[in-house]
Structures are given as C-alpha cells and as structure tokens.
Symmetry: D2
Subunit: 408 residues, 4 copies
Amino acid sequence: MTMSDATRSSAYDALTQDLTRRGVDVATVERSLRQQRIETPSWAYGNSGTRFRVFSQPGVPRTPFEKFADAAEVHRLTGVCPSVAIHIPWDRVDDFGALRDYATSMGLTVGAINPNLFQDDAYRLGSLCHPDPAVRRQATEHLLACNAIARGVGSDLISLWLADGTNYAGQDSFIERRHRLIDALREPYADLRDGQRLLVEYKFFEPAFYHTDLADWGMALTLCQKLGPRAEVLVDLGHHAQGVNVEQIVALLIDEERLGGFHFNSRKYADDDLIVGSTNPFELFLIYVELVAAGAAATDRIAYMIDQSFNVESKIEGMLLSVTNLQEALARALLVDRPALVDAQRGSDVLGAHRVLLDAFQTDVRPLTAKVRLDLGGEADPIGTFRASGYADRVATERADGTAMSWT
Amino acid sequence: MTMSDATRSSAYDALTQDLTRRGVDVATVERSLRQQRIETPSWAYGNSGTRFRVFSQPGVPRTPFEKFADAAEVHRLTGVCPSVAIHIPWDRVDDFGALRDYATSMGLTVGAINPNLFQDDAYRLGSLCHPDPAVRRQATEHLLACNAIARGVGSDLISLWLADGTNYAGQDSFIERRHRLIDALREPYADLRDGQRLLVEYKFFEPAFYHTDLADWGMALTLCQKLGPRAEVLVDLGHHAQGVNVEQIVALLIDEERLGGFHFNSRKYADDDLIVGSTNPFELFLIYVELVAAGAAATDRIAYMIDQSFNVESKIEGMLLSVTNLQEALARALLVDRPALVDAQRGSDVLGAHRVLLDAFQTDVRPLTAKVRLDLGGEADPIGTFRASGYADRVATERADGTAMSWT
Amino acid sequence: MTMSDATRSSAYDALTQDLTRRGVDVATVERSLRQQRIETPSWAYGNSGTRFRVFSQPGVPRTPFEKFADAAEVHRLTGVCPSVAIHIPWDRVDDFGALRDYATSMGLTVGAINPNLFQDDAYRLGSLCHPDPAVRRQATEHLLACNAIARGVGSDLISLWLADGTNYAGQDSFIERRHRLIDALREPYADLRDGQRLLVEYKFFEPAFYHTDLADWGMALTLCQKLGPRAEVLVDLGHHAQGVNVEQIVALLIDEERLGGFHFNSRKYADDDLIVGSTNPFELFLIYVELVAAGAAATDRIAYMIDQSFNVESKIEGMLLSVTNLQEALARALLVDRPALVDAQRGSDVLGAHRVLLDAFQTDVRPLTAKVRLDLGGEADPIGTFRASGYADRVATERADGTAMSWT
Amino acid sequence: MTMSDATRSSAYDALTQDLTRRGVDVATVERSLRQQRIETPSWAYGNSGTRFRVFSQPGVPRTPFEKFADAAEVHRLTGVCPSVAIHIPWDRVDDFGALRDYATSMGLTVGAINPNLFQDDAYRLGSLCHPDPAVRRQATEHLLACNAIARGVGSDLISLWLADGTNYAGQDSFIERRHRLIDALREPYADLRDGQRLLVEYKFFEPAFYHTDLADWGMALTLCQKLGPRAEVLVDLGHHAQGVNVEQIVALLIDEERLGGFHFNSRKYADDDLIVGSTNPFELFLIYVELVAAGAAATDRIAYMIDQSFNVESKIEGMLLSVTNLQEALARALLVDRPALVDAQRGSDVLGAHRVLLDAFQTDVRPLTAKVRLDLGGEADPIGTFRASGYADRVATERADGTAMSWT
C-alpha cells in the first residue's frame, strides 16, 4: 500500500488525536519506539532452506561483508537495526578488525557471536555433551575462540545454541551428558570478561529427535544457575512445544532476572523460522505487553535479535517486514492502558481486562511506526521504498558471479 | 472504551475516507456486514465448566425461555443474532410451539436442533456406534425425535455432534463401529424433509481418549458422502489437532460443496471453548478470508453458529464480545484487496500477497462494525451499553430462586 | 489369560533360566520388585468422568472407608499397594483417627494428603494466586488444615496440585500471581514438620485455558527453590505438552535432587488420566530405566502414586491393571544390561545402546511379576482372581443404596 | 544379544508350546510371517541428515547399483526385503534395463518409483500446484517420465509425495492450487497401464510451513476419488499431527478400499524419519492389528515400504533393525486371540478386550521371527551376523573414493 505524504500525515494526525483522547502520552510512546533496537542476523541474508532443498536467490551475498551491506540497507530503511549477529565459522574472515571497520563505516556494529557446534563431522553425536572428551574439548576451544572474536569485534554477547541430543532411547545418558555440558562450559564461562554475557538458547527438538540436551527454558535456566550470573536464557519463539504460553515464560525469566535475549521468528508447526508475527501477531503483541510491563528490566540488557530463514521469499524484504512487524507489536503494547488493566485485574473483571489488551491490539499503529522510522532517518514505507530503489537488481548483477553464502 | 457519538462519527468518517482512497467500496462492505448472521447457542447462557468444577454465576437462566430472553438481549445489542440453537434434552419443553412463539415474540427464531447422544447412562460406550443394537436404536429414536422437534419449531438444521469413541486400544472395532454408525444414520437421514439438513460435526478427542469415531473432517466427509447430499460437515474451530490449518479445511469443504456450518470458539490447547478470536484473531480473519473468497457459496447455506463456554466470565458479555469479534473478522476480510491479491499470487510475489492480507487485517474496523450495528438497530458499544443497562442486576434478582440451567 | 499353576511355574523356570544365561541376577531383580510400592488414590475408586458426563458404576464406594476397602482389595491381590492417597474435602471424615485405624485394620496406611484448591466457589479465578487476599487466605488456611490432617493420619506428604490459571490474555498478571503464590505458600511450608514434604505438581493446561500458574516442571522447580528443601516437584505423566520427553525431565529432577513423586497415568491427547502404560508402554519403561539408573536416589524418597480416572471401565480392575503395568515396567527396566549399555554409550554405538534397552523391553516379564506377587501374598493373576472372587457383585449389592462418591 | 543355536531352539520350543497352549495355530502364524514383504528405499542407504547437517558415513554407496548391493545384503539377512524403491532423479541411470538386470542378479526387483517434485529450482513455490502453468507442465512431464521408467524396470507403483505448499497466509489460493493439482494429475493418471497404481502420500507439514496442499488423509483421499480407482492413499507414519490415531486412519482407508501402501518410520516430534517402532512399538503393533484384521484386503495390494533416514546410526544396521521391528510387530498382531477379542468387544468388556491385545503385545516373539528368517534363508540374528560379516569394513574400503550418494 503506497500512500502520499499528505495522506500519511493526515492518518498520523487522526491517530494521535484519537490516542490523546484515550489518554495516551504519544510523545512517550514515540520515544520508546525510537529506542527500540533489533539485531538482524548475517545468516538470514544468505541462502537457506529445508533438509529437502536450499533454493538459491539472485543477489545473495558472497561474503560476510556483503551481508553487512544488506543489513545496512535494512538499517537505512528502518532506523532500528544497527547491529548484526554473526555466526562462526560461516562469517569467519581473515581479519575481524576489517569486518568491524566495515560495519562501522556502514553505521553498524557487530552483534552477538554465534558459535557453531553442530556442523563439524566430529559433532555427529554431540559437541559439549559428546561421550568423547576430545570432541568436548574441540567444542570448548571453539567457544573460547568465539569469546576472543567477540572481544575483537567489540561484541559483549555470545549466543549459544546447543544442538546436542540423541535420536534413540538409550543412545546416551541424560545425566552424564548434562554433567559433561556443565563441566565443558565452565572454562568458556570463566573466560568471559566484565560486560560479556553468555546467552543459552533452548530448543524443543531438531536436529535431535529423541531428546535434546537443552530442550526447554527450565533446562537452560538450571544450567545458567550453575554457571553464574553472566549466563542468561535466550528465548527463540519457535523452540517450544505446541501450545506453550511463551509470553508467560518471558515474564517468568525476567522475574528470575535471567532473560538474556530473543531470537524472533514465528512458527505454525515446528521451528519454521518464518517472519516474526506472520502466524499469530496477537501472540507477538502479548510478548511485548510483558516486556513493556517489565519496564527497565526489559530494555537495558535484553538482546532483541531476529533469527529467521527466508526460504521462498525475498530476503531483504522479508527482513524489512519482520522489523516493521516488531515495531508494530511494540507500538501496540505501548498503547495498553495500564491503569485500566490493573483496575480490571484487581477487580476480577475478566473481560474488562482482556478488552484493555484488545483495544491496544486493534489499533492501527502503522501511522505511528511510520512516523518513528522517519524520525530516525528511515522510511515510512521500507518495503515500497526498497522495491523502488533498484537495490535488489543492482546486487543481483554485482553478485552474479561467485558463490552465494548459505548455512555451510 | 467508551466514546462519544461525535468521536465515533469522526472515526467512521476518517476510516471510510481512508478505505475509499484504498479503493474499497464501503457501501458494499457495509451491506455484507449487515447481512452477517450469527446463531447463539442456548447452552452458553447456562452454567458451564470443566470436569473439575462448574462455577455458578448469578442471573443464569432457569428455563429455556429465559435463555431466549438473554439471547434476545444479545440480538438487541448487536443486530445480527436472530436465531438460537437448542439442545435436546437440555432445552426440552412440554410445548415446543410455545417456545417457538416466545422466540418470535422476542424477534428470534429457533435455530439448529442439537441432539444429545452422550449423557444417557446407556451411552457409556457409545451411542450410534455402540456394540449393543438396543442402544443404537435408542440413539436413532432420539434423532428422529429431534427431526420432529425441528419441524415443530421451524428449524431446518440438525446439528449432530457424535461423542462416540473408545478409551483403550482394542476396546472396540473401528470398522464395525463405522458400519454401525452409517447404518444407524440411514433412517434419521431419510426422515429429513426438503430443506432440512444434517450437519455432522467432527472432533479430535474428548470425551473419548483413545479414538473418536468422527475424529477429523475426512471421517465426517466420507460419512456424508455415504448418506447423501443433505448431510454436510460442521467445523468447530476447537476440534482439531494442534497446528492444523483450519482455513484450508474450510476452503476445501466449500470446494467439495459439503461445508454445512461452523461452531465458532477458540482454543489454545484442546477444545477450550473460549471466546472466538481470543487466542489468534489472525486465524479467525483467515477463515473469513476464505469465506469471502467463496462468495455466494459461503452465504446462503452455511450456518454460522457460536459454541462456547463462559466458565469464568460474564456469559452475556462474553457472547457480545464473541459477536463483535466475528463482525470485525468479517469486516477485515471484506477489506482484502482481491485484485491485488490475485495479481501477487499469480506473479509469485510471496510477500506482496501476504501483505495484501496484512493491510486488511491491520485496519481498525471498529468504527465500521459499530456503524453497521447502529444501522441494524443495535448498539455501537454493545458491552458498554449492556453494562450500563442494569440487565445483569435485574436478572440476578429475578432469577435468584430456582435452579440455574447447565449442561445436565 | 488364565494359566494353571504348573504352566506358570514352567514359564517362570524358562524365563529365569534365560535371564540367568543373559547374566541377570534374578534374585536381585526379584528383591527390587518386592520392594516396589505404589500408592493408589482414594478418588479413583469413586465415580469420575469428563465435563460431558460422569457415568455411574455399580458398587462404587459411598464413604472414604469403603474406598479404603476397595484399596485393600487391590493391595491384597497385588501385594505392593499398602498406602492410599486421600483428597480433602472429598475424603473428609469427622474422625480422621478412625479412618487411620480402619486403614491399619485393613493393612493399609494413609498416604499423601491432596488439598483441593479448585472447587470452592471462591476459587473461580484462582486460589493461592487469586487477586483477592481473602481468597488467598482461605486457600492458605486449607493447606494448613491439610498439614494438620496429615499429622493426624500419620502421613508425611502434602501433594499440591494448583489448578490456578487464567482463560484470557490480560485477565491477570503472570508475575503478580507468581509473587502471590510464593508468599501464600510460605506459611504452610513453614508449618511442615521434620520428615514432611510438600510435593508441587505442575500441569500444562486445564482447567485454565490461557495460562496455568504452574505449567511446567521449570515453574514448579523454581517455586520449590524459593520455598526450601522440603518442597519437591511431582511429575504427573499426563501433564505435559505433546512430544515432551518425560523421562528426561524425571532424570533431571533427580539430578537436581527435587523429584518428589509421580502421579502415574497415561494419555494420548491431553490429561486423559487413562491406565498407566496403556498408550505407550515403551515410554513408561524408559521412565523406569531412569529410576533404576538413579538407584537409591529413586527408591527412598520418591512417592509412586497413581492418579487416574476409570470413566468407562471397572475401577478396581483398572487399578489392578495399572499396578501390574507398573510392575512389568519396573521388571523390564531391572533387566537392562547396564554394563553393556554403558559400553555402547561410551563407544558411540548408537544402535547397540538402543538395542540393550530393546532386549529388556521385549522380554516377557509376566512370569517374574506373577512370582513376586505370590511372594508378597498377592495373586499371580490379580484381575482373573478378582473376577472370580465375587467382590464386585458383593459390593454392588451392599452399596446399592446411598450415594456413590465422586469428585464433588 | 547373541545366542547359541541350542538356546535359540529351546526358546523357540518353549514359545511355541506356550502359544499352542493359548490356542494359537503356530503353523499359520509362521506362514503369514513368511509371506511378509518389506520394501527398502534406495535413498536410505545414502547419506541423509537435517537442514543443519548431513553427516557422512564410511562405505556409503556411490551409485544406485551400490545401493542395490546394500539392499541385497539386507534381504539376504532377513529374507523379506526383495524389492527396492527408487527415487528419480537420485537413482537415474543411463540404462534402467541394466539396473533391473543387476537387481535381478541380486535376487531383487525394483519397487516403487518415487518422482521428485521438490528439488528443481523451478519448484520453489510448488510443482503441480504452482501458479505458473509452465512449471506445472514440467512436473507433469516428470511424472510421465517416471511412468515410463516404472514400465521399464517392471514396477507397478508410482509413489508420489507432493511437497507443495505455502509459507505465508495469502501466498496463494488453496482452491486454485487444488484445481491445478487435479488437472495436472489427469494426464499421468491416464497414462497408467493396467496393474499400475499411483500412491498419493500426504504430509502434515514440511517443507512448507503455512499450508501443505496434501496435508492429511482426507485431502489425499478426495484427490484419489477424483482421479479414479488406480489412485490410492499412502500412509507415512511420520506425517501426522501430534496425537493422531494412525491405526484408525489405516483401518478406515482399507474400509474405503483406498489404502495403497505405507512409508514406515517413527517419530516423536515431526517427520523425524527414525527407525520404525523405536518411539512407540505399541502403536506399530496396533497398526498391524488392523492389517491382520483386514485379512486379504491388507496383503495383496498394499505396498509395505520403509522410508527412513539413518542420520547418526549405521545405515544397514538401522535397516535391519527396522525390518526385524516390523516382523515382530506383525508376529505379535498375529497372536491376537480374535475370538476372545470379538467376544469382549461385543460384551462391552472394555478391559477384557484391551487385555487381549496386551497378551499378544507382551509376548516375546523373537524366537518366532528368528525361526521364520531362518526358514527364508536369512539369519536368526541379522545385526549380529552383519557385524560379524565384515561387510561394513569391506565396503568402507571399496567405496573410499568417489562421492557418496545423498539426497541431492
């Protein structure tokens, strides 16, 4: 939907008048929206797919530098994506200082460092949990190397997804693996410097199909408790069993002071890695309602990161839509009438309380998020502007030769 | 959220101007909204609960007549709920003609007749599928009696939910039960008059926990194929396994010319019977997108019925919210830019097509549905008006004595 | 399947010879089987059902004393069920000393005390988490009363299932409810005497359908951590999301030294409360494999309790089958060739390790468990003996008058 | 577990005596077991994995011929696997006559032909359902080519898995895609010769994550109804939503005379493609109980095929275990006391009927299946014999050079 500047301005005026009438302090809402930050992952700019096929797309980056160029385009259009998560070894370069400088030159920083403990041949039966101490040592060394890379690029986050698990009952001992994991993490944990944090991600299943060593938030949390305060839990929205109330887990991890960050995406079935908000935008809104309720606890330390796979759709457009979905989710959450909500909750007015959320959710916040993007130097209509910009055609030509990057 | 008439009028003007700019024919949309009909179920006005507890609420009807009085209040406030489904024997009265006349006097009609094949002691191991022919005969007789009641109250719908199933592997034969079911339904089916239809509901599980004789849409459809054209499938939104794409089933049943009706509600886990749209309003919108796409196929013959349990919330308010949620879902679906959608689909523009739906979904349609309710003689703010009306207090007093109706 | 004594003896000889050949120390296995204890719940002897119907059965107890009589029959036939869990207020009697004495006279003891925090009208929106402090106080008082009852009947276990939760997003605050819960439990926790323990049960959903305050093991565990060492987690096999690896959770809770007990049952869909082992006996075996692996950690303090609903089948027969299923699961787990398993696991022999479990699981252990029951004074064929005994007919006659007990 | 001949013989004698005592006609059971046939898939001998990693194993075939060599080893050891399904283009060879001759020389035949409609770049948004008629034509041509290959290699089965679907709501029209699919299949269907059949597989999700065009058995069945009697449904055990009662679907498709075949595997979460029977052997048994009950309907025309991925375990050993699991499942199902089962079912003896199944399931049938394998020229202990044979080491050496085959 394209819209003239005059139309947009008029829509913004109508919305803000309505919000003001409803008692919303629009200036405060806009300030919060301007402070929102979303980290995009380098790997989402590369090719991805399912076990059945990775379809190539034209213009896909051939180097980590080109991934940062695409990420910079996303930041340019949205204004809220100044950092880029990298994955080692997919984004290994000879000179990480050069990567950091390139990022800086594009107005970006290097975000979370994501170690890879699942693709080396040695890891067929696990990495940090593997029965063979030599394999565990290899995994530990990789984590130490990632700590060093983090320091080199100025990142304070190590984001660990442990793919370890088993496929058959009896294949290995749950408890021995757990103890191996705790032991193997002590050295990389101790190696963290002040300000550095280890984010521990859990996942219900895949690539292991009988058990996963860190299968739910409880397993991640108890591991973090054993490691120490620099270890925190990372919530990937697609890593739960069907029906799990994710917003409750988010609230509870904040209450435990152990919510380290998010991997945003959405799913209908398993870990589908679809565009965040595309299957149930109400659930995404509810997660942001918890984050807004937590106030400062949710803004200073939590890493808001996207982790998606654009298998069949344009990658940059998919990222732009993800970012605007996240902006809209936050915007709606900021409109929740907190005093009315608390009154209804304390007064046992079930539907009254629910309807306070509905009032916020049903509001069409797009004029507000468009305005905030413009304030930040981005675009009112990022996807429309991107389509009109010729960027996709240009990189398709520039990057026609060479090998597009993917997960391998 | 209460709103002055002037504010509402101004919001309506702003919305319709925006829609007109987007190419929407607002008059046509409003006409479709005025034609929407939603049947409310008598039993939702009575007490309900879980196996652990049925909590009583004040003012709950003590007779089927009082249920119709509450339903009339819902229709008065919304303008789109002129019929009421009844359940036999819960709503059995000595004189169904009197019930029909009472309904008429309230501006209502009697909707679908819902036979009960799950509460008689004889039905412990099934009804139409029971191994004992005497029990099957009892169930068949009940269906025949319901056919007669339907004719007596002027209803053309029998809405059959078959709770039959087993709890343990081996308890009974899937296939013998299937054949018993088909045989037992032949007589009640043959007894249907011109214009009468038998709606066959399926359900994934509960109250049976190993197998359910009609567990999914395929089992209901193949049964209907065997019975004849007056048998059609009823889709209850809460009767599917986790993750099932319900809108696809809706589209496919329309394509098979066998979609007979809906039982609207929502669920996060099992057959939770929550307020429709309360867990994933986007999914409800997508169902309506299919219905709107099907055009006439979806308006003339499909029975749009609510089937919910207001266990912890006010029943009439819960019904009002359900109705407005359904109005808003339809309104959003009517705003979908069909030519743009078709263009994007045929042009393999994945995100372009998806965003056409998002544009419609994100629109705040509440001014439009409020206007339509007013056009129909209802209220802009049904719940607010209801709360202010004193109805709840009045019936709480009037109905203080006697026994509130529930599922038994 | 009935079997002559000679046939049974010959089957036992063949089995034990085969086991001895495989290196199994049969005497040790039998000793472990003789030490197995399974607590049956009083409420399973009463009528139960779904929200749609509670079907009555003949001969159902009319008093807590008659429940103990049925439980004594189960113990008499199996030899491993000497304790009976009770539920307050369902099993409230004027004189708990008399109940204790009656139990003793039947060779039984009173097991876990199960407080009821979900059926009082006050608990419509929760109990210990309720927004109203008066309701929370009522719930706390009930827990204190249950502590006293426990002491009066000589039980050291309070088994708390908290049904609290909400049905709609926004209905209440996750975190405020959590804090209310922790606060409300402090006094009953402090009231526990030496040797008494509080078992905290979690449940995925039902009766609440949006969120449950203790929805998974992580929520129960973090609560126990806050309360202290006398609070432990109770695992009900039917209280998990689909696909959850329950045996892993069991192992992990033992490793955390917080596994307090089980509620055994089985499920295919939700909390179906079917006979334990009836939907996936391999999963039940795997749980026992973890318990056997944990050795002493799993025998001294863990409460092994059944929690089931025999909705359509004979209650006492269903209980007998449950108990024999549990005996067989333990027997199979005791046959696992641990040295071979460890060798295969450490040697990364995936299928070798898995097949060690299969070897144990596929063994027909029924001659062994029959022998153990006889050793304990029970019966080789408990259900056959029960059917032949006339007990069912006798109590059907004796208990023909009066009101059968159920969940209310 | 290795076992001497004498021990095995003695175990067989003990078992058959026991079975005879229970009224089982052992000779008939053995005859049925000798008639069992299981088709193994060529692709399972090649490397496989998840989207995260395909781990290579030593000795993996480099050509379709080498896959047949491995399959011949499986047949040699088990006696029941004389045919091998192939996948086009993975198994495309210049001269299919040569492949057929090679198969014959190994005692094998070529089984079902599996077209690939998911890996060509053209298929990113679908194949037979694609919006572009040129892509649909390409897919149709591939099916026609597969028909020709089938005739060339003497196979009468085309086994079609359609991966088509969409990732985002609105991406394409459910109904237009359905009509495209029906239209595109008419020509390949009409091209089938007498005796040839088209097996239509359904799958809940993956690789598409919003909707799958053939997502459940109902969608496959209604498609087959439209095509004609040579189209039948294929049931892959891993292609259902959580909790779905697969044995009921099997029974129902037989009743509809549309069950064409199986893809055997097992799953705990999604389409995990694990060794059949490894997560719930009781469920596999129940499927065979239905097949045995269907008698001739289940033996003549149904294709029993394995479809698995041995990602972390030895591929040939995994196949051997799969085959013996299937033999044991059938053996147990053949032991069900049908007259007793029918008596109990018709007499409403819930637990009596269930226990008839338990009696069969709990029987240790391994001596019986070992005997049958020996009768057929196979091995009592296929995996033990294979491990001792040196085959794995030999092919690891022989196939050290060149590229191992996998899914691409």
